[in-house]
Amino acid sequence: MSIHTDGNAIAGVLEEIFGVEVTATMRVCQSCGQEHAIGAHRLYRGAGLVLRCPNCGDIAAAVATKQDEYRVKLFGTWSEELV
């Protein structure tokens, strides 16, 4: 079994990147079309952080740290409610 936790574990990093809390943000997967909260996505830690769809496993986000900056790649549709 592969080792993973979930999007909740990087709530702090994501908030640093986006400036808002995004674990409750819903994301529609570009691959299977299912909608899940970012907190429910699987998290894989390696050289960087990779979030994957909890249904099909396709990539949702990749975050790498390069010196003092984050390099972020996002996939699918992220819906942030305006408050």
């Binding site: 909740n8 702090g12 899940h36 909260a37 907190g39 830690r45």
Partner: protein, 227 residues
């Protein structure tokens, strides 16, 4: 600092300008070594919102980078860096209507304890139930406090028989157990499942099979990459 189990301690923190938190949220703890090496891990907040101190219950991971220091070396008066509170998905708000089902595996109880305590502190009338799975009674966090909540707490132990007063089970969680604990899917409870990854995935799968909406089942996984 309080000893909870042979592996876990609760750290009571005095955080200047703490903005307050919601039950279920966590903080990131960052430790910096003398050579500048930094290590960061997230820990769930155990205390209910509105209480004077911030409490984190930390389970020692033997080859971890942060938990051995927090549980074995940190002394009262020590300072370290915190980021938070963070998280907005795995939280329960006392103003939410509807019943609540909490499902905890081992130290996954920590954020759910914040929910249970908040439920009590706010005098919420929401029907709340907790199913806790642990290996053995000595691994159960907050044991004496949980005894107060015995009418809503259901205990299953995977490696021994629970004491008779708990009227619990001695097996891994399964569909029958979740059905016995309730509330059923027809009552649309807000469900929070927290524990090790395999536990959470199995519990979430069973809950969806029992008819709970996937969106109503909030999950938080603890992994072996933690510590």
């Amino acid at each position: 600092m309080r000893v909870e189990t042979p592996q876990a301690k609760t750290l009571v923190l005095d955080v200047p300008d703490w903005p307050g938190h919601l039950p279920g949220q966590h903080v990131d703890v960052r430790l910096t070594a003398e050579d500048g090496y930094q290590s960061e891990r997230s820990y769930s907040i155990a205390s209910a919102p509105g209480t004077a101190d911030l409490e984190l219950t930390v389970e020692r991971i033997d080859d971890g980078e942060v938990s051995p220091w927090l549980t074995e070396e940190a002394q009262p008066g020590d300072q370290f860096e915190l980021r938070g509170p963070v998280g907005g998905y795995f939280v329960w708000d006392a103003t939410l209507e509807g019943p609540v089902l909490l499902v905890a595996g081992g130290s996954g109880l920590v954020p759910l304890m914040a929910i249970l305590r908040h439920h009590e502190n706010t005098g919420s009338s929401a029907d709340l139930r907790l199913l806790l799975s642990a290996r053995a009674l000595e691994d159960v966090l907050y044991r004496s406090e949980l005894e107060r909540f015995r009418d809503v707490v259901h205990l299953t132990l995977t490696r021994e028989q629970p004491p008779p007063e708990w009227n619990g089970w001695s097996r891994r969680i399964d569909a029958d157990m979740l059905r016995d604990v309730g509330p059923g899917a027809d009552q649309h409870p807000h469900v929070y499942v927290c524990g090790p990854t395999p536990f959470v995935e199995e519990a979430a799968r069973l809950l969806v099979e029992l008819g709970h909406l996937p969106a109503a089942v909030h999950t938080e996984r603890f992994g072996p990459s933690g510590g």
